[in-house]
């Protein structure tokens, strides 16, 4: 769901960029204060992992592909502040180095995938884990729902920006974007659960909520 150049107008991207810069500034301050020593090497390797994983498009419905987004997964492992910064870094390098996502849409892309997807994923997971019984399965279900919602919410935000920019009527583009990403989101949920399951089995100290089970 990386928006290329030319599909969102200047004001929409400008506002999104201002919010993204402000949010990343705040996230840096929070992370500087709260960062755990063991997070330092994890942040670099998570960023590399997300970058590589986003290159791996898997086929979904006929003639369409999707790729792992990782926003919810990052927020579960690293918390929302580090997750946003990692997503912003990956999106910046993708736009500047690989023409994946337009440079004139960078603000929108960071806002959608680095803020909206991260926060939706983070709060959904946090809230569900608290609500469900303290079991391994609850962590998995919460992570699956959170990653699905993170993809669908990010994609819906893309639709809103396209509509506000005057690219397409909202109802049309929103239903199309949410529809196809509801399918891609299933792939996202499966990958998140698979990675989280591996971590729970081998390094459960890296999954903050694992203490509860």
């Amino acid at each position: 769901m990386h928006i290329p150049d030319g599909f969102v107008n200047g004001p929409v991207n400008g506002i999104a960029l201002a919010v993204a810069v402000g949010f990343c500034g705040y996230a840096s301050r929070r992370l500087k204060r709260d960062m755990d020593e063991k997070q330092v090497p994890l942040i670099g390797v998570s960023a590399a992992f997300i970058f590589a994983a986003q290159m791996l498009n898997f086929p979904v419905a006929a003639g369409t592909s999707g790729h792992f987004l990782g926003a919810a997964f990052l927020s579960i492992i690293l918390g929302p502040w580090a997750a946003s910064l990692v997503m912003a870094l990956v999106l910046l390098i993708q736009a500047l180095g690989f023409a994946d996502g337009g440079i004139t849409a960078l603000g929108s892309n960071i806002f959608n995938m680095g803020i909206v997807s991260v926060l939706v994923g983070y709060f959904t997971y946090k809230w569900l884990v608290k609500l469900l019984p303290p079991k391994r399965g609850s962590i998995m279900v919460s992570a699956a729902v959170a990653s699905w919602l993170s993809v669908v919410s990010g994609a819906s935000m893309v639709a809103v920006e396209l509509a506000v920019s005057g690219t397409s009527p909202l109802v049309v583009v929103l239903s199309a974007m949410a529809g196809i990403h509801a399918v891609i989101g299933v792939g996202e949920a499966l990958i998140t659960v698979a990675i989280l399951g591996t971590l729970l089995a081998s390094r459960r100290d890296l999954v903050p909520q694992a203490r509860r089970i």
């Binding site: 599909f7 960062m35 090497p41 390797v45 992992f49 791996l56 369409t64």
Partner: protein, 114 residues
């Protein structure tokens, strides 16, 4: 190096290795179908509303994850994936180290005030 640091170092190294391998050896073979947004843009016939393109002086390193000037599409993607992944790793680690350093500097100055 404490036992826990050693364990983390091993994990980071292992994940990094797998990640670079994925970007290098798997990424050239993934689905090239349009992604969700491209599919929607095609179906709805969305057109560009602005003519904005990145400045002409700016040359993207590997547009569409393919390094220019290499005949083999496979190799072009593999090289782009490997370089990109390693670059992102160092950039991410750099940010984390900088934030940690800033925190220590901040704490030192607070100590002096006390």
């Amino acid at each position: 190096m404490t036992a826990r640091n050693k364990k983390n170092f091993k994990l980071v190294f292992a994940v990094l290795l797998v990640t670079v391998a994925l970007a290098t050896f798997v990424s050239p073979f993934v689905s090239s179908s349009p992604d969700g947004l491209e599919r929607v843009a095609g179906e709805l016939g969305l057109r560009k509303i602005t003519g904005e393109e990145p400045a002409a002086w700016y040359r993207v390193f590997a547009p569409g994850y393919e390094v220019g000037g290499i005949r083999s599409k496979w190799a072009a993607r593999a090289i782009a994936g490997a370089i990109g992944t390693i670059f992102v790793f160092f950039a991410g680690t750099g940010i984390a180290l900088t934030l940690r350093k800033l925190r220590h500097t901040h704490r030192d100055s607070e100590d002096r005030i006390d």
